[in-house]
Amino acid sequence: EYGGLYLQSTLSAMEDKVDKVFLPGDTLINLQKAPNLKIRLGPGISQQQDEITVFKSGIIRHRSPDLYWIENNQKRYVPAVDDFVLGIIVDKHGGAGNTAGGWVVDIGSYQHASLSFFAFEGVTKKNIPKLKTGNVVYARVTVASKDMEPEIACVTVDGKTDCFGPLTGGYMFQCSLGLSRECFRTDSMILKTLGNYFPYEVAAGANGRIWVHSGECSHTILISNAILNSEFMNNSQIESMCKSLVARLSEK
């Protein structure tokens, strides 16, 4: 019983740290004071001997039961497994007969990622997808470690295509990681507001890249500018900003 009470008090010790700002070097919790604590450390948190310290400035987020991580906003992408990313094909190595071949894809990390020929649904040696240098692909990161080059695939975990694969037409632009994560949410205010004015397609990558495609060139440009402007705006500012941009467009 004593153990149960102690565990509860240490869990609540972590509870009041969630959604608070932490800076590099700050100690999250000292393990000596909470010896029964079992938590999983996500990005931005590390263990230095007896102390759990934070090494990036940001806000602590929590996902039950035991995952804690630092959420921050930076521009440089560091690949993580299961991230959905937008990549640009840079090179191809291995010919059609070479089963170990694939494409070299730039996903914004310091090493290019490799996309195997067979990381697509229903592909065989005879019908490898025809992707060229410069094509944009939407893919999922399958391997990401600090020592190896990252690997991506255009299939879900079950092997289905879903939303992955080459993206044709449209316009891809770069932004901060925070903004692209925001556009990833289905209830994102900026995307919903823009959807009230034009029909369009959008793909947001965790690597700070967003792809927009709509019927008219002018609409695509307006949507891209609106998304970039909306980074630090609240909901009412977003609505008025979109309204004024659309009004300027229809003046022509």
Partner: protein, 249 residues
């Protein structure tokens, strides 16, 4: 001569007390194209730091297999000093090379280098106006720029310089005090643990005076840390808290 630097009432030439810091102003994220950037002012000394990385190593032969390579360039703008500094384009003078190396070594101890092996972080510092304490301002600006870029740090790195007039330890020298013969003792440390990363001294001091000056400089660093913490907390809140939590599935 030393009477001019420290008045009988104990005031320095700019009206500060011996243990008073100059006013600090700083901003993060001032350069759009850089991964991280910061502008730092300490009195009249102005430093602009920018960080790019972790990115692919430019010279493959220099890549380190187990940690990140840190390249640091410190430069003083020609208009930063009293007399316009003429320099051969692209080359650093001896002092700039020395400060670049000191900065690189300081940050190698503070950045968690093993988290991104085979990559490179470029740090570039420009001094826009020099009025004493330029390498300390450079270090403080770089810390803010690294935090802006999201590069993993053990702790903030804060720096402050100490000196001595007539045996009285003084904090945060300006150019006039520095050039009129006071010893200049820049100190950089990790504030939470108190670990000193860099100490330099450019003249002689008796050992007991040295200890007093060093302790005063460390105190000054802690004061700067309080101010930097406030700025970073504010910026972090603006950038992250205004958005709801991103729960990845």
């Amino acid at each position: 001569m030393n009477r001019e630097l420290l008045s009988p009432e104990g005031l320095r030439i700019d009206g500060r007390r011996p243990n008073e810091l100059r006013t600090i102003r700083c901003k993060m994220g001032v350069l759009e194209k850089m991964d991280g950037s910061a502008y730092f002012e300490q009195g009249n000394t102005k430093a602009l730091a920018s960080v790019y990385g972790p990115r692919e190593v430019t010279y493959k032969s220099k890549a380190l297999h187990d940690r990140v390579l840190i390249n640091c360039t410190y430069g003083m703008a020609p208009f930063s000093t009293g007399e316009r500094k003429v320099q051969r384009t692209g080359k650093q003078d001896r002092r700039e090379t020395e400060v670049s190396l000191v900065l690189k070594q300081t940050f190698e101890s503070a950045i968690l280098t093993s988290l991104s092996p085979n990559s490179q972080i470029d740090i570039n510092i420009q001094i826009l106006q020099a009025d004493g304490g330029t390498r300390c301002a450079a270090i403080n600006a770089t810390t803010l720029a690294l935090i802006d870029a999201g590069i993993p740090l053990k702790d903030f790195v804060v720096a402050c310089a100490g000196g001595c007039i007539d045996g009285v330890p003084i904090l945060d020298l300006n150019y006039f005090e520095d050039s009129s013969g006071s010893p200049d003792l820049p100190v950089a440390l990790l504030p939470q643990s108190g670990e000193v990363l860099m100490v330099q001294m450019d003249s002689k001091l008796p050992l007991d005076t040295f200890e007093n000056v060093l302790n005063l400089a460390i105190e000054g660093c802690q004061k700067i840390y309080v101010q930097l913490k406030q700025v970073v907390s504010q910026v972090t809140k603006e950038r992250v808290q205004n958005r709801g939590a991103f729960i990845f599935s």
